[in-house]
């Protein structure tokens, strides 16, 4: 990004929008004074309250709830920022409970930070920022990793805290509907400067269509659900079926007594709050975890966790929540060809079937990136690649874990259209998700883990 002229007045509440790669996060980090010298070039002038940004002058909350907890106890973590700024001990003792009250986190000060949910951890990070009494609060997609309840939790906590302290607010987020009521100004960035700037209603009315085209979630302009050409046949024989299934992780049963059938041409949505066992169930159905109890059968070959890894490829394809966990090769092309090559190793004298992999590269707009390292792709590109790697071996059942998590509207529409195509081809999909739009667009049946 270059050539940006922007002034934000004290007490303003700004929603910062822009397509991915437009420099929103970089701008926030520069304002927080945490942009290292090795993280790019800078020209022009940036001031915060008349002075260059310095560590701790603005409060910054990031996206990932796991990676910004600093200390093991809630009270210590909230006090951390104030301690670093040299706030006297008695004053910190007053600020910590006040900050926790402001974000509505009603837990003991010695509670372990490990025991908090994602939404609670984000509110903890917010409390830590508030305890520094910053003039500006900077939020970088603070709700992108949360379930719907967590999103509301954090949004309301921010609104309350900002109203109470009068702090200036700058929030980056591509789901406009979440923040539209909290902010009084929308600023849209492009790599070449400002694209739009003004009160939310005016910006959305004048430029809503353009913003939506750039992948921003504009209220009233959400992407349309694709048409399904072939309705799911509820009587088709099940590919995977579970009776009285119990699932768990590391020896602890998370959920028991589950009955379900996965049928060709049909999408089963598994929903429920964070921690309800959606991912654990998805991994069990995908043959990646042993069931904790009950019966599970896939393709008449017994429980898939007993299969060889290679046997999974043409039958059960799994796509993980974090694409980076699944990348094993140096280039996008090698990554997508890995599955077909492994499959060929298992066949007698088999040549890998790479034509389908090539088609997928083109179909998912990854062909220009074929020589890029998977870890250097953007979030949307990584998601498309991780789906493509699973599809390259044409599995009959696709198991998706939060496929649309944190994706912009364009990637979302592509993923949904692709899923609809797969269903029309007669493949089955299991999707663990808390994306209500995704469920509404595609789900034939729904399993709610309450």
């Amino acid at each position: 990004m270059r050539g940006l002229d922007l002034a934000i007045e004290p007490g303003e509440r700004v929603l910062l929008l822009g397509a991915s790669g437009s420099g929103k996060s970089t701008l926030l980090r520069a304002l927080a004074g945490v942009l290292g010298d090795d993280e790019g070039e800078q020209s022009g002038r940036l001031t915060l309250g008349g002075a260059p940004p310095a560590l701790g002058r603005a409060g910054l909350v990031l996206q990932d709830p796991d990676s910004q907890v600093v200390l093991a106890r809630v009270g210590d973590d909230v006090a951390f920022g104030a301690e670093n700024l040299g706030v006297p001990r008695e004053e910190i003792a007053r600020r910590v409970p006040a900050a926790l009250a402001a974000v509505g986190l009603d837990v003991a000060l010695d509670r372990s930070t490990e025991a908090l949910s994602g939404g609670q951890r984000q509110r903890l990070a917010l409390a830590g920022a508030l305890a520094m009494r910053p003039g500006v609060l900077l939020l970088d997609e603070p709700t992108a990793n949360l379930d719907p309840a967590g999103v509301v939790e954090v949004r309301d906590a921010v609104a309350r805290a900002v109203a109470a302290s009068g702090a200036t607010l700058v929030v980056v987020e591509h789901r406009v509907a979440v923040w539209a009521e909290v902010v009084d100004r929308i600023v849209v960035l492009s790599p070449r400067g400002l694209l739009a700037d003004g009160p939310p209603a005016r910006v959305l009315a004048a430029q809503g269509a353009e913003l939506a085209a750039r992948g921003i979630w504009v209220p009233g302009r959400e992407p349309a659900a694709p048409e399904r050409r072939r309705p799911a046949d509820p009587a088709a024989p099940a590919l995977v079926s579970a009776r009285g299934l119990a699932v768990g992780r590391e020896g602890v049963t998370v959920r028991a007594g589950l009955d379900l059938d996965v049928r060709p041409g049909s999408l089963l949505a598994v929903t429920g709050a964070n921690g309800s066992g959606k991912s654990t169930l998805a991994q069990t159905l995908g043959g990646l975890r042993a069931p904790a109890g009950g019966n599970l059968d896939a393709f008449g070959r017994g429980s898939p966790h007993r299969w060889r890894s290679r046997e999974l490829l043409p039958r059960l394809g799994s796509v993980f929540q974090n694409p980076e966990h699944q990348f094993l090769r140096r280039t996008v092309r090698e990554e997508i060809e890995l599955g077909p090559r492994e499959l060929a190793r298992g066949r007698r004298g088999g040549e890998p079937r790479l034509a389908a992999a090539q088609e997928l590269l083109v179909r998912l707009r990854l062909a220009p990136l074929a020589r890029a390292n998977p870890f250097t792709l953007s979030g949307g590109e990584q998601r498309r690649l991780s789906v493509a790697t699973a599809l390259a071996t044409a599995p009959e059942v696709l198991v998706l874990d939060e496929p649309t998590f944190g994706q912009d509207a364009n990637t979302w529409a592509e993923l949904v259209a692709l899923c609809a195509e797969l269903l029309d081809e007669g493949r089955a999909i299991v999707a663990a998700t808390h994306d209500a739009d995704f469920v509404a667009a595609l789900a034939d049946r729904r399993l709610e883990l309450a």
Partner: protein, 266 residues
């Protein structure tokens, strides 16, 4: 959840009481004193006296027996193993009882073996048991405030320690992801190499985010840091240090008086 009327006390001190609640720095210092007293001599008397005193004082820590046993279990396996090795291969002297290839069991090697077992137990028991009651956050408080180690270093290490747990979870997830990609049946070498790179990238991402989050909260700012919770070093802490020093001193004195001091070294 209502955010108003939070009644949590504005108290950041740790609640543990008794000797078990003494500052971690005192416990480390105490374990170090015992080790310093016992290391120079290889005699059975100093080790036996120290171990006896330690066992007598152990109940003061009020550690539940089950937890205690679990923690010292490796020690109970390792110490006899060390003894057996010394009995077989230790310096031969006195009457020889058995020979097998290079292994010779003699009066001398047996005595040395017994002493070794006593010594390993006497030095490792206080270290393990005191470590069992150490809270890492309090240890960091003590290292930075009592021993005046640089806060940047201590807090950085403390925060990094938290990432280790997340990395273990990532490792399991990556192993499952490899299985899903069809390469989960490869041998241990392929698995370690393949998992290692992905794990490194994911851990570096987390580390970078954590570092950014810490800096954004003023970590490393040019201001003298304050501490919300004072690290204590009072009567209780001095008692722990003095107690451990006494164990070491009594053990040494007993060895010197009985003429055993320096026995195994000669």
């Amino acid at each position: 959840m209502s955010g108003h009327g939070v009644t949590a006390p504005a108290r950041l001190e740790s609640p543990a009481a008794g000797i078990a609640g003494a500052a971690p720095v005192a416990k480390l210092l105490g374990a170090l004193l015992i080790a310093l007293a016992l290391v120079p001599s290889l005699d059975p008397v100093s080790s036996a006296v120290a171990l006896g005193l330690e066992l007598a004082l152990l109940p003061l820590l009020r550690i539940p027996p089950g937890r205690l046993l679990r923690r010292i279990a490796p020690l109970l396996v390792a110490a006899p193993l060390a003894g057996v090795t010394i009995a077989l291969y230790g310096r031969t002297s006195g009457e020889v009882y058995a020979r097998f290839l290079l292994a010779v069991i003699s009066d001398g090697s047996l005595a040395l073996a017994g002493t070794t077992v006593l010594r390993v137990l006497a030095i490792a028991l206080p270290a393990l048991v005191l470590a069992l009651t150490i809270d890492t956050t309090e240890l960091a408080d003590g290292l930075a405030q009592t021993l005046r180690l640089p806060a940047r270093f201590v807090l950085g290490a403390l925060a990094g320690l938290r990432l280790v747990g997340l990395t273990m979870e990532d490792r399991r997830t990556i192993a499952r992801a490899r299985r899903a990609r069809g390469v989960g049946d490869r041998g241990i070498v392929g698995r370690v190499l393949g998992t290692g790179f992905t794990l490194l990238v994911v851990a570096l991402r987390r580390g970078t985010t954590l570092a950014t989050a810490m800096e954004a909260r003023g970590f490393g700012a040019d201001v003298p840091r304050t501490w919300a919770r004072p690290a204590r070093f009072g009567v209780r802490e001095w008692l722990v240090v003095a107690g451990c020093a006494a164990i070491g001193a009594l053990a040494l004195t007993a060895a010197i008086v009985t003429g055993f001091w320096g026995w195994g070294v000669r």
